[in-house]
């Protein structure tokens, strides 16, 4: 299963299939628009490698690797 951490190069895109878990972090991610079928694109990494910047639902979202690993995607 691929997660957001499998997006490696700027511009690479994926379609979200699932957000694992039912805890507050998962809910937060979904509230921010990371729900099934939403498309997401990698914009880049922070200078120290973490967090990561994505484009989703027309806005820029930054996530830590730990959170990105919770979001399952299929690459497109």
């Amino acid at each position: 299963m691929n997660t957001l951490n499998d997006l490696r190069t700027t511009g690479q895109r994926g379609r979200i299939t699932d957000v694992t878990g039912d805890d507050a972090v998962a809910v937060r991610l979904m509230e921010m628009g990371l729900t099934e079928d939403a498309e997401i694109e990698l914009i880049g990494f922070a200078p120290l490698g973490d967090p990561i910047e994505f484009l989703v639902r027309g806005y820029r979202l930054s996530l830590r690797k730990a959170e990105a690993s919770r979001v399952a995607i299929e690459l497109i």
Binding site: L29, M32, A46, G58, Y59, R60, L63, R64, E67
Partner: protein, 775 residues
């Protein structure tokens, strides 16, 4: 079926004031709209029992008075803490000090409508008359995003107003929409969820009524079902701990078997609804155009250029604070002395004069002196926030801060604390996670602020030789000051870690953060934030700081009889007037001397100068004698004052730190502000209270000071012990009062004072013992 029972219409009280709540995602220009509607004057307070700021502004439109309640920016209305519960309580009219809400203004970023409508759909579930504002209309247009506002309004069943708040466009349309909506009945919330969910919600409402909880709004029942472990479930569990868990579990199980899995189903259902609402209403260009903001971001978050720009920006902020704020702070001090001198000349010497000059004017001066730093720091913080860079700063620094258990959002508040902890603590409002915010507030006073510098300088200059290496570029004193400056920050690392492991235990909060588009900061917003913060400090913290200053003044003034001191002071003044020419002559000669010293070819004229100086000094002898006598009396009065007696009582406690009672008194007297220790030591060493840290007389007096048994008081270990103590202690009443304001509780300032004083004591003890052992 409406979600809430229809609220009484406003028609019943046609001319009464309206209460309007403003809610929206962060970075939608909510504060810009708020300021555009109400002007910069607003009442700021705290909601009882929580750390949420209450901000209410008032304006008039069409002869109607409208109270605007600013709710914290949020991505969703599903409360997970007491702080987040405030918005729900206000909207449901359950916050007694706000009252019933007549209209809700929901502000959304037109350029980012899809995600913004998530919150809108939750707000609509409340059933209140609602207006949707599509702000930053111009930005959306420039990106090719087209929205049919009329059709959107029809689909949602509420007025939709496009607006450009930062340009003050369409503000009247917003005001008009508020008035029109206020006359309407409550709305029918859209059916976002499958029918089974509404059925469960009604059953839960009925169940609660059966248990003796009638009239629970549908939204509360809805959230109780949807938010597993949320604030509403938690608060109801306290009342119905026996029955509720089983009921909720059963309801959620039933929903799951109907294909509605809590909690994931909510976001899915709402975003599906959003898609449906926007289809045919919003057109987004297929190819997202690369905006100037995107291009700028490529540089500002770049591995090399991004970090360099960050360092340059932070350095520039600091440099401008020291160049811009210090003259103003000096002006404050000079002004305080001038006013004190002038008032002093109007009132005859006595307790009253001392109260006014040393207590009142000194106290006010002690508050105002912080104002330039607070204003300047907030000017920069507001600028960085409003233009969108603050989120980037957090993005860049996050990895570093996670090492301490905090997030990137703590970086700027902590860095600001290096200038002054007060604006730093006030800036923690941007940290939405409570645990992170509390830890940041608690460790912020450990950062070395500018008030510690005079203490370090006095000790370093008095006890450490001026040794330099590398052609004068590296000096021992410079290294010591540098080490002391970062000492507190180094200690803060394990302290923060410990707090995170004990007091503020919990899972690491997610760092899910929007990186908003860059924009030009709005001068109005920036200035209003500076004004708000400055006012909040002076009004809300200032009164308590002032009270403490008066208290410390009284303790150091009473119960001694000051009559003799005042007589001597008068004689000193008289002698100064009659010996004015000699005093001027001495100043001139001393200046010449310092100019010519160090030049071997001037030896002859230097000798001559010294002779002249000695002659002048001889003529000044009567004055010098009077001054010395006055200073001895002042010292004696301080020694026998309540403060002095207390200092002597606690001497056994400070002896392990290598201190005598005099240092103890200095530390006590510096409770209102650290730098006060310099002038207190000046009085104690009979030098008068007008000394500064660079005063060589004070440095000499410290070196010569002896204990009752004749041993020298000060040594290098003692100096180290004092510096370590001041690096770690919480001797700043202003900081403590700001902590009290920001946490809305007396516990945290007391806690901060206790933990920091303990840390300072242990640190000073270790420094003294280690230093003595090494020497």
């Amino acid at each position: 079926m409406t979600a809430t029972s229809p609220s009484p219409t406003v028609a019943g009280k046609p001319e009464g004031p309206l209460t309007v709540a403003v809610i929206g995602n962060p970075n939608t220009g909510k504060s810009t709209l708020f300021t555009a509607l109400t002007g910069i004057h607003s009442r700021i307070g705290n909601y009882p029992g929580v750390t949420v700021e209450k901000k209410i502004g008032t304006f008039h439109h069409d002869h109607r008075e409208i109270h605007l309640v600013d709710l914290p920016g949020t991505y969703s209305l599903s409360p997970r803490s007491l702080d987040e519960m405030v918005s729900v309580d206000v909207l449901l009219g359950r916050q007694a000090d706000v009252g019933r809400i007549d209209v809700v203004i929901c502000i959304a970023d037109a350029a980012n409508l899809e995600r913004n409508l998530y919150l809108v759909s939750q707000v609509l579930d409340l059933g209140l008359p609602t207006v949707l504002i599509l702000n930053m209309w111009d930005v959306a247009q420039s990106r090719g995003v087209q929205i049919d506002a009329d059709q959107l309004s029809q689909k949602l069943g509420i007025p939709v107003v496009p607006c450009e708040a930062h340009r003050h466009r369409q503000i009247d349309a917003v005001k008009q929409a508020i008035l029109t909506t206020a006359g309407r009945q409550s709305i029918n919330p859209p059916r976002v969820f499958p029918a089974c969910f509404y059925e469960e919600g009604r059953q839960l409402q009925a169940q609660l009524a059966e248990w003796g909880e009638p009239a629970t709004p549908f939204y509360v029942a809805e959230r109780m079902l949807l938010d597993v472990g949320g604030q509403i479930e938690t608060s109801f569990l306290r009342k119905f701990s026996a029955q509720l868990p089983a009921t909720l579990t059963a309801a959620r199980e039933r929903l799951k078997s109907s294909g509605f899995r809590v909690p994931a189903a909510e976001a899915k259902a709402r975003y599906a609804w959003v898609r449906e609402v926007l289809s045919g209403v919003m057109f987004v260009p297929q190819q997202r155009s690369v905006t100037r903001s995107d291009q700028l971001d490529q540089w500002l978050t770049h591995k090399v250029w991004g970090l360099s720009a960050f360092v340059v920006i932070m350095f520039a902020v600091f440099q401008s604070i020291s160049t811009a704020a210090s003259p103003l702070m000096e002006l404050c001090e000079v002004g305080q002395q001038a006013v004190g001198g002038w008032v002093g000349s109007l009132i005859p010497p006595g307790p009253f004069q001392s109260l006014v000059v040393d207590g009142v004017i000194g106290g006010v001066g002690g508050i105002l002196v912080f104002l330039p730093q607070i204003c300047f720091l907030f000017l920069f913080i507001a600028l960085l926030e409003d233009c969108g860079y603050m989120a980037r700063a957090a993005f860049l620094m996050d990895k570093l801060m996670t090492k301490v258990g905090l997030s990137g959002k703590s970086f700027v508040p902590l860095m600001s604390s290096f200038a002054c902890a007060i604006p730093g603590i006030m800036a923690t409002r941007t940290i939405e996670n409570r645990r992170d915010r509390m830890v940041t507030i608690l460790i912020a006073p450990l950062m070395s602020c500018s008030a510690r510098f005079p203490v370090y300088w006095l000790m370093v200059a008095a006890f450490f030789p001026d040794i330099t290496w590398g052609g004068g570029w590296i000096s021992l004193r410079g290294i010591l000051i540098f080490v002391m400056t970062f000492f507190g920050a180094v200690v803060a690392v394990p302290v923060a870690w410990l707090f995170k492991k004990t007091l503020f235990k919990g899972e690491t909060p997610p760092f899910v953060m929007e990186l908003p588009s860059y924009k030009w900061p709005s001068p109005r917003i920036v200035l209003s934030r500076v004004y708000d913060r400055g006012k909040a400090f002076v009004v809300r913290a200032g009164t308590l700081i002032f009270a403490t200053s008066i208290l410390i003044w009284a303790a150091s003034y009473f119960p001694g009889d000051h009559t003799h001191l005042y007589q001597l002071q008068e004689q000193v003044e008289q002698a100064r007037t009659s010996l004015a020419p000699e005093l001027a002559e001495r100043d001139r000669l001393q200046k010449l001397q310092s100019e010519q010293s160090g030049r071997p070819e001037q030896t002859e004229s230097l000798k001559e100068l010294e002779q002249q100086l000695a002659a002048t000094e001889a003529r000044l002898e009567p004055l010098n004698k009077l001054v010395a006598e006055r200073n001895v009396i002042a010292e004696h009065l301080l020694e026998t004052s309540f403060l002095g007696r207390f200092g002597k009582t606690i001497e056994p406690t400070v002896r392990p730190l290598g201190w005598d009672w005099r240092i103890g008194v200095g530390v006590l007297a510096s409770f209102p502000a650290r730098e006060v220790i310099v002038s207190t030591l000046g009085t104690i060493y009979s030098l008068g209270n007008e000394v500064v840290a660079t005063d060589t007389g004070l440095q000499q007096a410290l070196r010569d000071s002896r204990r009752s048994d004749g041993r020298l008081v000060y040594s290098i270990p003692v100096a180290l012990s004092i510096m370590v103590f001041f690096a770690l202690c919480a001797q700043c009443v202003s900081t403590l009062m700001v902590i009290r304001r920001e946490t809305n509780s007396w516990f945290w300032p007391l806690f901060t004072f206790t933990y920091m004083t303990t840390l300072a004591y242990v640190g000073a003890f270790a420094a003294y013992q280690l230093g003595s052992w090494l020497m």
